[in-house]
């Protein structure tokens, strides 16, 4: 992707501390991103509904970073939802979770997650993880541009 426009990242994460960590980790990357944050799966669905309408305040995400354990519908249900939607199914969803349980990993890939990364609460570590993640999605892989 050689676009000069920053990539839009939608972070679906209920923990304010983790939201901040991801925000900081993204800030110091070579690839600029426009980070949008929502706190639940329901809010993410509402965000994407607005996006489909073409609302400029809710730009279409290039990728989605998804926490699994959230109040309400939770990450997996959200993943299932978005992958069943013809217009949204092309957006890669990367699970970013504290869990490294086999069942969570397996179910996420089955629901077509495009990666499963374990969260770190250490900012340096997280920054290195996000560096590899952004390098893959924003430099190596091409994405669907709308």
């Amino acid at each position: 992707m050689e676009d000069t426009k920053p990539a839009v990242v939608l972070l679906v994460e209920d923990d304010p501390g983790d939201q901040k960590l991801v925000k900081y980790a993204l800030r110091f990357q070579q690839h600029q991103s426009n980070l949008q944050i929502v706190g639940t799966g329901e809010e993410a669905i509402e965000y994407l509904r607005q996006c489909k309408k073409g609302d400029e305040s809710t730009p279409r995400p290039d990728i989605i970073l998804l926490d699994l354990n959230m109040p309400g519908m939770g990450g997996k249900k959200f993943l299932q939802n978005i992958k069943a939607d013809d217009e949204l199914s092309t957006i890669p969803v990367v699970v970013v979770s504290t869990s490294d349980e086999k069942q969570d990993i397996e179910e996420s890939y089955k629901l077509h997650a495009a990666g499963y990364v374990q969260k770190s609460d250490n900012l340096d570590k997280l920054r290195r993880i996000i560096q590899k993640l952004t390098q893959y999605w924003f430099a190596t892989s091409m994405l669907v541009k709308k």
Binding site: K83, D86, S89, T90, I91, P92, D100, K102, I105, E106, Y109, K110, H112, A114, G115, Y116, V117, Q118, I129, K132, L133, Q135, Y136, W137, A139, T140, S141, M142, L143, V144, K145
Partner: protein, 160 residues
């Protein structure tokens, strides 16, 4: 991912030069890897059928690298097969192709490719792509350990 078990990559690519280049670029990375190569979509489907049946010479791949333009069935058909088979759908499939047509990109992501990489032209860029792929899939991403016993057989299985 278990550091002592090499990761298994199924490369579906009909160009012999590209096969070599990809394999060699992965050899320079610090993650131990084993390649299984098929030069047709049909061959890859046969390989995966053998993986499912538990044949030791065809271990389940941790990652599939898929070219789109191949003689016979096109690459997208393999993506369809993998992503609709409950025994195979957890395997990430990354497209590695010369095409950068918007149609191919959209179709691939619709079929749930886990990345779409345009083959770089220079050797240096090729190595960079392979480093990025390795860092993402084998350093930061978590995987399901496939049946370990199956990986003990190191016989190279090339399906045509």
């Amino acid at each position: 991912m278990n550091e002592f078990e090499p990761v298994v990559i199924l490369l579906v690519e009909d160009d012999v030069g590209d096969q070599k280049l990809i394999k060699q670029s992965f050899r320079s990375e610090h993650i131990a890897n084993e390649f299984r190569i098929s030069d047709t979509t049909e061959g890859a489907i046969k390989y995966l059928e053998r993986s499912k049946a538990g044949h030791k010479d065809c271990p389940m791949p941790d990652l599939i690298l898929l070219d789109l333009n191949m003689p016979g069935l096109e690459g997208k058909e393999l993506l369809k097969v993998v992503k609709t088979d409950p025994e195979l759908d957890i395997i990430p499939v990354v497209i590695l192709t010369t095409s950068d047509s918007e149609r191919d990109i959209i179709d691939s992501f619709k079929l749930q490719a886990a990345g779409y990489v345009k083959k770089p032209v220079t050797l240096e860029d090729f190595q960079q792509v392979v480093t990025d792929l390795t860092n993402y899939w084998f350093v930061i991403c978590k995987h399901i350990e496939h049946d370990k016993d199956m990986k003990n057989d190191r016989n190279l299985c090339i399906v045509n």
